[in-house]
Homo-oligomer: 414 residues x 2
Amino acid sequence: MIDDKVIFANIVIEDDRIKYIGDKIDKYKPFDVVYDCEGNVIMPGFKNAHTHSAMTFLRSKTDDTSLQDWLFGSVLPREDHLKENDVYELSKIAFLEYLTSGITACFDQYYFPMSTAKAAQEMGMRVVLLGTYNKEFDLVQKLCDIYHKLNDKDGLVKYCLGVHAEYTLGEGELEKVVEACHLLKAPFYTHISETEKEVRECYEKRGMSPVQYFEKMGAYYYGGGGYHCCYFSDEDIQIFKKHGCYVVTCPGSNTKLASGIAPISKYLENGLNVAIGTDGPASNNSLDMFKEMTLVYALQKVSLKDPSALPAFEVLKMATVNGARAMGLYDSDVLDVGKKADLIEIDLSKPNMQPINNIINNIVYAGSKDNIKMTMINGKILYKNGKFYTKEKPAKIYEKCQKISERIEKELEY
Amino acid sequence: MIDDKVIFANIVIEDDRIKYIGDKIDKYKPFDVVYDCEGNVIMPGFKNAHTHSAMTFLRSKTDDTSLQDWLFGSVLPREDHLKENDVYELSKIAFLEYLTSGITACFDQYYFPMSTAKAAQEMGMRVVLLGTYNKEFDLVQKLCDIYHKLNDKDGLVKYCLGVHAEYTLGEGELEKVVEACHLLKAPFYTHISETEKEVRECYEKRGMSPVQYFEKMGAYYYGGGGYHCCYFSDEDIQIFKKHGCYVVTCPGSNTKLASGIAPISKYLENGLNVAIGTDGPASNNSLDMFKEMTLVYALQKVSLKDPSALPAFEVLKMATVNGARAMGLYDSDVLDVGKKADLIEIDLSKPNMQPINNIINNIVYAGSKDNIKMTMINGKILYKNGKFYTKEKPAKIYEKCQKISERIEKELEY
């Protein structure tokens, strides 16, 4: 059950899962480790339901341009120089950043997804990869193989299917991915209706909206979702509702690239599921769920001229439980017995949490990254009191990524 | 000179001021304290150019309502129960919060301003009080006396004149404050054009906009500024320009209360000075300049459908140098020899600052409170590595404020 109840209790964790929540902990003793939360809040970790983690190399390098100029003029030419190992290194900066914001899982779409997977496994980050049809996975069977390989075991890395976007589809690409979705009974995800231009050109080309096109092609037969969703028609909304698809809103990216404001309150009124993503660090430029939550409620309240629109608890559910379910992480959605120990500690001893009149409103309306005292993924503390407990030291990761960023810039000059 | 140059240098500080910036520091040796910034960025502290610090007791208690309901239905009835000492205690939580966000000065308007002053002096916070005509200062002479008392010495607390707003003016109040402004050659500040309702009703009542009314009454003869400024007409813009008045935009409050989006890019194009304020913790609910900077650029880019609107450096200037000048703090505006040592250290070793492609864009587009490694006001380090170096322990302050908040709630029930 999802409620806004804040209770006093102990949490017993065994390996990667929650074994017990309550006061009667004697029968679980002795404990290997006892962690005193000193009256702070323990809650499910935030779920970043749309990102391109390895784009850290482009942070603050491609600012203040439109999505089209940004993508085709600045991002893609640089991405041409990306190597497999670059993605492995560059993803790690993003994973560190997720930990500082209490993000315990991300839904990642990028080149060389297996490099992102390798980084996630080494760092202890939970990742759902959005696998697409590409050079690496150019056959339906290969997509199915990797899908089984990653999803059939209880690991940190999971795999979903999708495409980049309607406007970048290659010849036969969608058909193959949809075939794989049907074979696997798998949901389908893609960037969708992010800009007015995208939707207008889809109508010109196909006589219908991107959502209608993907439905017509059978993509949503087993559900799924869309990233951005700024420009859904009423018919698009009904299609998403019919298939139980998730809207993943990315207000940091949509404002910075001036793409638009997704009508989230309207989607909720129509019964859609909504989750939140940061998008990649090249278009946002931060990977911070507090920033995204702020923008989600701020944009709805001000654009609807309704201060009661999208109250705090709705936003908090989007950033946690809805995000998990959008990514298929049904084991990491809430704090309950048997669920994964993917949780965070909110530091109430920081001044922005005081006085404590309403904890949930404090977190959503006043919270920030400096309230993240501890981040635990899969039962392991990876971040505590500003320090990382990952395998590799941050300074080493930064050094390697700075070199990659500078190398690509040099290669671009030639 | 204000530029976006990032240089490597040493800063020599003597007492409360910057004595030297550069490499030739030998002649200033020996030093009492040497602080190694380890390659991090030192920059002027943020200036919170509009707030009501002591409203911390109302945080998360009055959410999701319109400005009018919020103010008249929820805030004012509770404020009736505020005592002088409450304001002293409640201000301290806000001051701690400013330190965590690298805010080194605030422009504060509230009841019992001398209680806020006392808290600021004890905590080491720099405050400019907006003194208004009220029970405490019911004569022009009293306003002039306190103005001289606080401004004639080089202290942490300064004093400006103004009123709350056009729509809450008492009989003869404005005339007396304007008389004091003229006697003192002092600028004038007020909440202004915050909501459509306020502007519409001013036209109905006075046949002109609030800005036109205050100008007609001679309030802007020595300059000043306005808080919020969401609904300026072209004529209002010209009036502000003519008098060199400052627009203080408060996007956190304006979005949460659904008041509107101030057309900041238009103001800048018309040559207005723009600074940024958080507004009080009851309407925002946080006191975080990173959040405000995000909202400032996000709202302009998306509302103008122009991703190049309001680039990072413009926003950073608003949050620092413009804020200082809006508050009359010409000694705390930039880092230069002879200026006050009001400065902050930005931690570049956090993942959101990596790689370092563009430091200013990193700070504005990706920064957050967890990048504030150190906050110094008046030459004193008050916050470092998440710890406060203030006279009173935070836990003690929180305890007293929680009691005040609960006491007022109880009094309200009777």
